[in-house]
């Protein structure tokens, strides 16, 4: 058991590969495809289950690295010639994102059961490989390793969009690939600049992220590196004006692809800002802050306005992502303790609610193979369970109190308002919330209420048990975060404090950290 616990991050990260191997070796032929589906689902479920000990043992002193405060550290030499290490660890931020990834990875795979009918085998292989790449990003504390995982996930996602996507899938897939890659290569240059600067100061060749967070880099160099990193992360988030790949990718991707794209992949960008840009380049962040806030706010409002005008449900949800992530970034960049924590929580919330909304769109798409809002109406008459789920997730997305979105948005607004200079930017955030409520409720109204006049819609079955199962954990989480966010926020206090101390030292009272170390 202790061997398992000491290498738990290896297991969590690479466990999906076992599924890939099994699927490749599985007997060929149409009649064995059900077996493939079972393998993928079971592997993904186990992948989620083995990540649960991360929570239960999170405060176990045996797995805390005393020097850095990181948990479950695995550190081995890898490429000595350049000082790259195989360095896995997690802190509170990583923990929540890792769990979100394993959970949504499972949900996405479960939701694909009947949606994917051709090339089933490969589909699940790509999904499981994608899972490895995403988990690796959230666990890697070596910048080189981080970059490797960051790029690895591009290829499976390309295929998921390009093979199982809609009519313009090839265009969307290559656009996604090229946009993200363009950001990534600039990110690589930024990493190299940090690497050489670190060597010139400390004389050590190392990609250690925590080591880089200790550096005090001259402002001009910081600004250049910040720009390089910014392109990498902002395209991934995506922030306005780098968002144009997102609607295409979302619209063309299969349902599960959209879910993962929205819920996890986009978080890699925000995670990059939180983990790397802010703590490594604090002065540059503050220097660029007005611009960053402008872009975030444009994202919030532009995303919301465009979402309102969409006729295609998936596109609407995609643009709502742009808006919501603008909200995340607003909180993250202002970097007051509460706003930063709210921004991070909002990353999780967006994963839950937007992931669920894409599932919802997928469910009606599977029934009629159209995503046009105008084709539907009155579905609540025949699909009561579905209507309930949809309503909960709509309310979660627009930040209804008692649900998760409210907590995140409230914290972001409160945190932004605490900043003496930028407090009025919170107003734009409020505007975003109002617009968000408008387009989401309007969507709900047009799809679910009214007369069930289209004969093609009359025979829609309600959710089956499998479809319902994909929503249950998300609904539970939405209420849990909405009613008792402390469970989650407790993990965030310590890392958020560290970042705030780097970015805005001494300006704001830090969050209370309760050290609940089990003896």
């Amino acid at each position: 058991m202790s061997f398992f616990m000491e290498n738990i991050l290896n297991f969590v990260c690479f466990f999906p590969l076992i599924g890939v191997v099994l699927i490749v070796l599985w007997p060929k032929g149409k009649e064995h495809e059900n077996g493939v589906k079972w393998v993928a689902n079971i592997v993904a479920l186990i992948g989620f289950l083995i990540s649960i000990p991360l929570i239960t043992a999170f405060n176990d002193p045996r797995y805390i690295d005393t020097a850095t405060g990181m948990r479950f550290v695995i550190r081995k030499s890898w490429i000595d010639a350049i000082g790259a290490q195989y360095y896995f660890a997690i802190d509170g931020i990583s923990l929540l994102l890792v769990l979100l990834t394993t959970l949504l990875g499972f949900i996405a795979i479960l939701s694909s059961w009947s949606a994917i009918t051709e090339r089933v085998r490969e589909y699940y292989c790509y999904f499981l490989i994608l899972q490895v790449g995403m988990l690796g990003v959230f666990m890697a504390f070596d910048f080189f390793l981080f970059y490797v995982f960051w790029e690895v996930m591009l290829v499976p996602m390309y295929f998921i969009i390009g093979v199982w996507g809609g009519p313009r899938k090839l265009y969307a897939a290559i656009k996604f690939f090229l946009y993200t890659l363009a950001g990534s290569v600039l990110l690589l240059l930024g990493i190299l600049a940090l690497y050489f600067y670190q060597h010139s100061v400390t004389g050590v060749w190392s990609f250690d992220i925590l080591g880089m967070q200790q550096l005090s880099i001259p402002l001009e160099l910081q600004q250049w590196i910040f720009l390089a990193l910014f392109f990498g992360f902002a395209i991934k988030v995506p922030m306005f004006p780098f968002h144009t790949w997102l609607p295409d990718a979302h619209v063309e991707a299969p349902t599960a692809g959209s879910v993962i794209l929205a819920a996890i992949l986009l978080k890699m960008g925000t995670y990059g800002f939180v983990r790397l840009s802010l703590p490594i380049l604090p002065e540059a962040t503050m220097e660029f802050l007005p611009w960053l806030l402008v872009l975030s706010v444009i994202g919030i409002i532009y995303g919301a306005l465009v979402a309102m005008m969409q006729k295609d449900m998936k596109k609407l949800v995609a643009y709502s992502s742009v808006s919501h992530l603008g909200f995340c970034m607003l909180g993250v960049f202002v970097a007051t303790p509460v706003a930063l924590e709210g921004g991070i929580l909002q990353m999780i919330n967006h994963g839950i609610s937007t992931g669920a909304l894409f599932l919802i769109v997928g469910i009606i798409y599977e029934r009629r193979h159209t995503r046009m809002i105008a084709d539907y109406g009155g579905l609540s008459h025949i699909m009561p369970v579905f209507a309930t789920v949809f309503l909960i997730m709509t309310l979660s997305s627009i930040g209804m109190p008692t649900l998760n979105g409210f907590i995140g948005e409230f914290m972001v607004l409160q945190g932004v308002f605490a900043d003496p200079i930028y407090k009025l930017w919170a107003l734009f955030g409020v505007l975003g919330i109002v617009l968000g409520a408008a387009y989401m409720l309007w969507l709900y109204q047009r799809v679910m209420f009214g007369e069930l006049d289209d004969p093609e819609n009359r025979n829609f079955p309600d959710l089956n048990w499998r479809e319902l199962a994909t929503f249950v954990p998300l609904i539970i989480l939405a209420f849990w975060i909405g009613l008792y966010p402390k469970t989650f926020l407790d993990y965030l206090h310590a890392p958020v404090n560290q970042i705030v101390e780097r970015v805005r030292p001494g300006e704001f009272p830090l969050l209370p950290v309760q050290v609940a170390v089990k003896e």
């Binding site: 490797v148 790029e151 390009g162 890659l181 690589l188 190299l192 690497y195």
Partner: protein
Amino acid sequence: MPEIPQIDNLWEFFRENSAAIGPQLQLIIWGLGILCVDFLIPAQKKGRGAIYALGGLFMASIHLYWFWGISPGPAFYNMVTLDFFARYFNLLFLAAAFLTVIMSYRYLDIEDEQHTEYYALILFATAGMMFMAGAIDLVSLFVGLELMSISTYVLVGFLRSQKRSNEAAMKYFLLGAFSTGIILYGMSLLYGLSGSTNLNEIGRQIVGLENNTLLVLSLFMMMAGLCFKIAAVPFHMWVPDAYEGAPTSITAFMSVAVKAAAFSIFFRIFYLAFGDVREIYIFALAVIAMVTMTWGNVAALTQDNVKRLLAYSSISHAGFVLMGLVAGTDFGVTASAIYLLAYTFMNLGAWSVVILLRRQDIPGETLEDFNGLYFKHPAIAVLMLIFFLSLAGIPPLAGFIAKYFVFAAVLEVALSSGEAHSSLMVWVAVVGALNVVVSVYYYFRIVVSMFIRKDYLPAPLSFSAGLVVVLVITGLFTVLIGIYPEPFISLARAASLSLT
């Protein structure tokens, strides 16, 4: 004028010095042997030449292995050496030649041009490359260059019944001869300036001559000639035609081995001899690197013939390798050396898949020929995907490590204090980085054909044991260099450090 030495005992002299050219000698002896025994081989079984060639390559490898730890030092009055740099490149040439030979024999049967001379010429060309990599004197360097070039001219035109092969050979030969002439002119000017043909001596003599027009002229002439050999823009015009027309196996060989050999003398001349007058050429070299990457990629975007597409891609890769030289540090040379090693495996792998698609009566060169490859031969398609991802520089594959190193080399110089060319270096890095993005587009056009389009051409692929071995080896190294590059990095580093 150095005095011509008196040699008393010719045999003794040769015996003492031959260690430094042992691998070359093996190749030449075996190559001549193939030509001699050719008449004994029945016309139907000319493919046996491949076995003799493998024998020669094996013996050369043994020789190289004997001298791996001990450096024989300069031989033949400072004409050639077998320092670690030369050994590193010899290893690379031997690997490329070995893979080329075993991927060729089935292919030549299909093209109906099975002759033993083919294998002999590959051995001669390889020997020429080894002379280039080991040359520390302009004369031996030039002889090696010519040995390699002339062998490859013939090889390019080997499909003598095909018009385009003849055209390719003619084009390559005329332009190649022209470029050789330019190099030679540059060398003669250099000899006139420095009074020596020895590279180290030249390096010492030209210090302080930075403003000498003749030096600048000779330097740029040699640069132009060498850029032709490595296929850098604007001296790349021959590449698409020659690569398209040549037998595909020879194209593969040229794109890796010939290019690496030309780079090896590029390093020797520009890093070793001209290292101190870097100011003269650094800007031109940086511009050539940037233009080469960009133009190679842009031109590849619209190609529908896969051989031409890969030809343009190989042009752009030359630009990436040049980045190491632009950096002009030993780290830069390490980076280029790693790049060439990684490129050898991933590119040979990609070409061998193209050869696999060449079937009786089917050229197998257009994008359509790749359609639906995945559905019929998933393993081959996945391998091709790995080669393309590696060529594009996606981790964790060999190409990523290669690209990482050239970027690192350039940025290291850019960020070192007191560097006059910081912004130039940053530009080179940024242009290189953006070129990675462009290259993905055209590699993925083929990937789309293989994995997403479905109309598969129902003819069996031309598998042979040799090709399978090539695919396995190249695939293995492409992944291995990416996941655990440590040993390869130390090899390349030792090579660059021995370059003094």
